[in-house]
Symmetry: C2
Subunit: 337 residues, 2 copies
């Protein structure tokens, strides 16, 4: 069983819920009715040492901040504002107390910045290694929640910032290759201390501009495939429009990686992925600027299914590549150029 | 730092929340306003392999049930009914799929029985060993929620069932000493597959009989000390009234343990601990019977602080023993008999 099969298995067992549940398993958050007019958004994410973070290069204060960011990102990606946080901490006996204090300081500082409060949780002994589960509860107007399922053929596909930076940063940190050169510091920061685009998500929801939205946690290829599947549509991505690829070139050369693969397959950028009317191009750009962000149109929603990457290949031939969950598919097709 | 210090440290960092939060860290659940009339109760518990369960003797279906029970128990202990569940699953790559299926079946079956729905969560790879975090959201009338802080001097201290059975069951299972003799099977069941007293908790809340309430997860000594501290009172426990001690005698002899210590210090019974007017004795007993439970008065709330255990010692001398967090204190005093 892979992750998807695990989720499908347990979703089928769980069966249908009652009317108070507006969205169950399958979106960034579960959505439940609060008072008929507003909803609560519920999300939970776990970070495990040596799977999701490496203490050798992850400062505890930044890890605490990241634990909050990756969760509130899910709330923002549905157009909600985070309100409450529950934290379960697992630490081995004899853990480093100064490490924990810095982690807790980062976590609570991030809660304050995103406007939410730590209200409870659990502390447990772990046989080895650290693990943290957070549950974040957010709030939104029921009528403004943006689901993954609202994309329509003809929509423009947008991303809220450069792609692949977190993957590049992680690779550089693993290799001890993260000198203070400006671009490298940006990549490093993106892995260690990402910013969740909560304000953008809320404004996109309030404006009604976004038809479908989610956060980029598993990489554009996987996440856009999810969004398309939930919406019953396909998408065409333009490689030349993916933001960040040029900036990644030097780092990619240094570690023998491919910048475009980072941008398409790399996870944990925590940018927003959304679709909007093609006609709304300028409004979307303006809204992004008001949030201090440069938003990038990267493709188009089409009828059908699947995600296709379009890029100029050798000799000016245009390649069309089927992009699957977890990055590139082995299958490649070529169309004339 | 011990668990209490960790919680105090992070609570101080978190600072005060806003008016929507009626109860933060420090009770069985966090309590937040839902619609002015009703509240939501939020709790989170993590189970880690070889800390909270041992797959060598814990059948997966029962572990799935227990993961739900220990969380809904916190909701019931404040007088609420569980509504929604989030689950984060951490499993090593190459986990046993049939084990996971049985776990998921137990978990979802328990959700149905307690009237709540699995609505989301997270699945992650664990470097080794299994871990599960659950968040449970419950609901209650704001005016009926029973906190730990409501105990008053003169109240009777009640428990909803026998104490120490889970600790005995765990010890017997660890030693492979759990034959099918009736009492031993009960102890085993109490560790492997405890029942949360949700219906009792709700009826106590609705009736207004319980002044303070919590569930017994860390053992009577520790939990009653918490309840007393939150209420600003002390308590006197009568050893001869602790239910279950006599039934534990044979198991205690078999493993060289002390039955009374199990009853006072053993965790994970998931019975309810509550206080009520001394005058309400018969009403409480009747309410228990309607829930199919035999409730036991085990002591009295007194002004002051600390928990004292009163028992007949050698030669009919009455011992008064200061009971501290985590069981007996080293300090012992004797009063005349």
């Amino acid at each position: 069983m892979n992750e998807r099969q695990i989720i499908e298995y347990i979703t089928a067992l769980a069966g249908p819920a009652d009317g108070r549940l507006l969205q169950g398993i399958g979106d960034d958050c579960a959505v439940v009715d609060k008072d008929g007019r507003r909803v609560w958004l519920l999300t939970m994410d776990t970070l495990i040492e040596n799977v999701h973070f490496d203490c050798a290069f992850h400062p505890p204060e930044q890890l605490g901040r990241k634990a909050v960011a990756v969760n509130v990102s899910d709330v923002g990606a549905m157009g909600g504002r985070p309100v409450f946080v529950l934290l379960s901490v697992g630490m081995p006996r004899g853990f480093d107390e100064s490490w924990f204090r810095a982690f807790a300081q980062g976590l609570t500082a991030a809660c304050r910045e995103y406007g939410c409060f730590l209200i409870g949780g659990d502390t447990v002994a772990s046989p080895q290694g650290l693990n943290f589960s957070l549950t974040v509860i957010g709030e939104a107007e029921a009528s403004q929640v943006v689901y993954r399922s609202g994309a329509r053929p003809g929509d423009t596909v947008w991303v809220s910032g450069p792609l692949g930076y977190a993957a590049a940063g992680l690779e550089l940190l693993r290799r001890g290759l993260a000198p203070d050169a400006t671009a490298f510091a940006l990549f490093r920061e993106k892995h260690l201390n990402p910013t969740a685009r909560v304000e953008l998500g809320c404004q996109l929801a309030e404006s009604g501009l976004a038809h479908a939205m989610m956060d980029l946690s598993d990489g554009l290829a996987t996440d856009l495939a999810h969004l398309c599947k939930q919406s019953g549509v396909g998408a065409r991505l333009r490689a030349r429009d993916l933001p960040g690829v040029a900036a990644l070139a030097e780092a990619a050369r240094l570690v023998g990686a491919d910048a475009e693969s980072w941008a398409i397959g790399g996870g944990e950028d925590y940018e927003l992925l959304f679709t909007a009317d093609a006609d709304a191009h300028d409004q979307v750009q303006d809204l992004g600027r008001r949030c201090g962000l440069s938003l990038s149109p990267v493709g188009t929603v089409v009828a059908g299914e699947g995600v296709t990457l379009i890029r100029p290949g050798a000799d000016g031939v245009i390649e069309e590549i089927a992009v699957a969950y977890q990055g590139f598919d082995h299958f490649r097709s070529r169309a004339g150029g």
